[in-house]
Subunit: 355 residues, 2 copies
Amino acid sequence: MLNFTVGPVMSHPDIIEVANHSTPYFRTPEFSEVMKENEQLMLEFLHAPERSRCVFLTSSGTGAMESLVMNVLNDQDQVIVINGGSFGHRFVELCELHKRKFTEVKCEFGKQLRQEQLAGLENHTALLVNMHETSTGVLYDMSMIAEFCKKNCILLLVDAISAFIADELDMAELGAAAVITGSQKALAVQPGISVVALAPVALERVEKNEEVCMYLSLKQALLNGVRGQTPFTPAVTTLLQINARLKSIKKVGGVEAERKVIAKIAEEFRNSIKDLPFEFISETPSNAVTALHPINVGAKEIIRILKDEYQIWGCPNGGEMADLVFRIGHIGYITNVDLHKLIDALHDMGKRGLL
Amino acid sequence: MLNFTVGPVMSHPDIIEVANHSTPYFRTPEFSEVMKENEQLMLEFLHAPERSRCVFLTSSGTGAMESLVMNVLNDQDQVIVINGGSFGHRFVELCELHKRKFTEVKCEFGKQLRQEQLAGLENHTALLVNMHETSTGVLYDMSMIAEFCKKNCILLLVDAISAFIADELDMAELGAAAVITGSQKALAVQPGISVVALAPVALERVEKNEEVCMYLSLKQALLNGVRGQTPFTPAVTTLLQINARLKSIKKVGGVEAERKVIAKIAEEFRNSIKDLPFEFISETPSNAVTALHPINVGAKEIIRILKDEYQIWGCPNGGEMADLVFRIGHIGYITNVDLHKLIDALHDMGKRGLL
């Protein structure tokens, strides 16, 4: 099967080989070195400011999202939540669950956040945003958001789960207090690990805030991370894959080189399907994904046919968009041959009258 | 390296092969079938009562421990916590964190819980126990505990993280409300997944109790599990390995047949090192592990020499026991040849005057 979802995605053979062994024991100086290298490379690739830290949680991206709401924010905060889809909605739910005071800023499906939507919110203390709202493919205007946050001394917390590597991201330049990502997006290894990078301002908050969950405690993760360890048994194999992947990114010229590859795939895909009866959903698409609305047929059926007749996984949408939108991911180990199999399959469906 | 820790442990080549591929996409009917089979086989192997359910969290065992304290217990409960080592202590910390009213019953390091220690606690509503306290190797007298709980209508919540498969466990017979385990113990696949089995009485409580954490919400896991899915992207590869492993256990005659293999390895190891200067720590050892106190030398140095000079991982203890106790695990894919390499290494260390 070819996998063009937005995660889990296809891994490079060298990365797969890392998992082709029994998981090694991890309470060793050797594994600690791996973890310290993971932290250092992640901070480098995120352009994190001096004295930032990075920890690895054995969880999905939602675990990392919740860890920010629980550990970095507190009940004194007034939080702005940008909600333009399923993942923005998840931040809303997390703020409700943890009784954070918040204002929801809604964006229409596929639409960019506009500056005027933030007017009047200058007195807030923190802002939560899914840099790339993965459900719609919208890449938010991070420069505008960052400028607003800096001007008003608002703590900027960035979910870059599907944006990391795929889209331009400079933590120091944005002045972001925290950035999170996950193992199964452009890192393109197994799912099971989420990554939380914290600038000094966020580290101070984690230190001061009361712990509300042991498993998702960033305080404990940071403390153990100093010696290259985790408080609890982590997904060791996935962390070893992350290490191999980060080192290979470094070798090919860093995260910017890797981004160009993804951007090129996205561009080629979008250009190749312009004549098919799809509407592009996102006003400002991320390189990671193309969200499409099929004009004549249901999205679910397209996903089913791609899977059953072309051995290709596309990415379905959930909820009320399930039959209106499907997505094609551009992250992971995608060869030119693979990409053209997908493009050919969609054109073939067109010829067969299935679109 | 040979791995004789208590997790992660060595995996069978057929299980490793499952991870030797890109992780497949999981929001598919095919993966749902895998998950439903995982649930059904886990309940079968645990001898869970009728209408029990089982969910899989992408977390370490601690995530599952915390999920019980958060989702099954509430602030009306009066909880008995059996604390005979690091993992009992973790339940104590979790109850403190989540403001559960509890009474701690301490067991000396390596000692069995005695019935008289429960006297006077009959008015409690729940009991938390690490069936096998992995840090000391003590397997608690579960029949005695279960009888006490049944007699006094006390909800029995069992951490069987390192006991599942290795030691006799019949959820229905014990009348246990919940049993948890993890992927990297006797299931012998990658770490990253914990398993939570809930009898109807626990399911009712999960339904009624207020949600306090989204990521570790058993309510959401149960709801999504009905359709063979998880609320958030799980460690898909590890779940596929669990599926392969559970089916292979079924094929060789079920969990009882697998237990015999582990018990035989434990027995052979213990008999083979009787003449070495070690004290056996546990009064009533689990089949999963042998905890040893080296009489003449430090435990840390034994672990280091085994690793650096014999390419064998033994399992260090943490905290104040770090230099007094080390452990040898008997779970995972251990061949007879492997076992004898370990036994020979320890005898060789003895001859070299290192013990």
